[in-house]
Symmetry: D2
Subunit: 163 residues, 4 copies
């Protein structure tokens, strides 16, 4: 998850993360739009042969062919607008907020905590880090500085759960 | 789309249709539950190597591991209950109602017409055939007696659209 | 519930029903749009002093001031498009489909049966009457020829439940 | 909006705010549950004769009669779970986050900024104040220390819009 208006650094991080996720053989799920962190993560994943990218979109369809990232393999058109943020979170095993993001990303991070999904903040601004770690939740908030650290965090948690 | 309580004949039709859809290299999207037409279509598709099945579920997660068809590759947990029927329809290029179904299937067929999605009724009861062809809609309702006829209808329409 | 494109007879029925519902002191809930059966029912209700009308809309807001029936007291903007049909049904104690309606009304009638809400078909076309009474459901489908008959059906059921 | 687990101070603030909103003749809309800030605000509003309270609930119905605040006049059962937070925000002219709240309240404050709704933070913790005022948004974030200040902020903005 991340901003549709992303900095160059956030785009770079999202591409790296998408490629690493795909490299693990995991499915990448994003908000699917042709913008910012969403598109960058999908584009990163599609550099890996055999990758699978799912885009869960707010719209009821891609009417003019420009709304969906071309790096999305399967587009889920929800037609429920911003309420689709909940679908993104519930359908993910791990939620990663990449960079600062805007209010949309903030709502997804909050919904991850609300619904008990493991949340990783990747290179968050101080304000976001301090806020989300201050909220009461049944799941811990993990912090990562690099895309590789996100992968390591997920693997460590998965190993702990499997034990 | 089809009933969670399906007759043996409906289950057979759904399996055949799932296999044929996968054989064309198309993605199969269903309501994803481990029941009736949904599971049968997914199971049919998974007999085909390289197939991809998407399940769009009403629930917020598969808490006890029994709710999702094991033949679903990617589960989208919407958490929006019956409102997920709209997501199913909007995310499909063609909507096929397999057999009689119950009120849930009826709502999906109606939503297909409401949102302008091509609708195929496969072996419908007379009451359903007469009702859905009586509704005003911007899209025609096609009728099929066999799974192969559904595939033929979709191919004919796609060819017409591509021209 | 009913069509946004309604016949003169359906508009008349909806106005009468809205007025009768309000006259009983009941809250009228519709899809809230400024069209057809929805507006007519709200307008009928607002002829009764002290009436309360709720409109549950598909849109995220009334951007140009023309989308919401002016006879709606409280507008609920869901922003979830056609998925709001489920909200209408779940928030109603009784669901009345007024006249023929189109695919949207058909989806609401089907969702009423799916979610176990008492459904009354008021002056339905033959095709709708035959179809909805053919579906398996935990609730019976009642038929009414006049707005007053709808009220009588609801009162009879309420009395039976209270016993 | 506010936490279902609220402090005594937050409950007091919510009651005061509910009473003041109702005293202005405004409609109070909350998440409708029988808990914390939601119930307190509704209870405060219902001390005012002629008040109207709307509860927009995540559930598909009040199955055991304990889920809905008894101070809610009209319950909207969305059946869409946490996605109903979007409905709350879109249906409100002003969004007030009362006290700290948890992740659910955080998602609603974020969604208010995302959808361009005026947001007032009433007695927020420092972390929330700093975070939400750091997010890019088309609408300003207002801060209030008392329930009366919330009312004053809304009136000032309404007057500015009417000019």
């Amino acid at each position: 998850m991340g901003g549709s208006n992303a900095t160059a650094g956030e785009v770079q991080l999202a591409q790296e993360l998408g490629a690493l996720i795909a490299g693990e053989g995991w499915v990448l799920l994003t908000g699917g739009r042709n913008a910012g962190v969403m598109h960058a993560a999908n584009a990163g994943a599609k550099t890996v042969p055999g990758s699978l990218t799912i885009g869960v979109l707010p719209s009821a369809g891609d009417l003019d062919g420009t709304g969906v990232s071309p790096a999305v393999d399967v587009a889920i058109f929800t037609g429920i607008g911003e309420a689709r943020n909940v679908v993104n979170v519930l359908s993910s095993d791990f939620v990663v907020a990449c960079g600062g993001g805007g209010p949309g990303t903030a709502s997804e991070a909050a919904l991850a905590l609300k619904t008990g999904k493991p949340l990783v903040l990747l290179a968050p601004p101080d304000e976001a880090r301090i806020f989300f770690t201050s909220l009461e939740s049944s799941v811990p908030v993990a912090l990562a500085a690099t895309a590789q650290e996100v992968i390591d965090i997920i693997k460590t948690r998965n190993a702990a759960c499997a034990r």
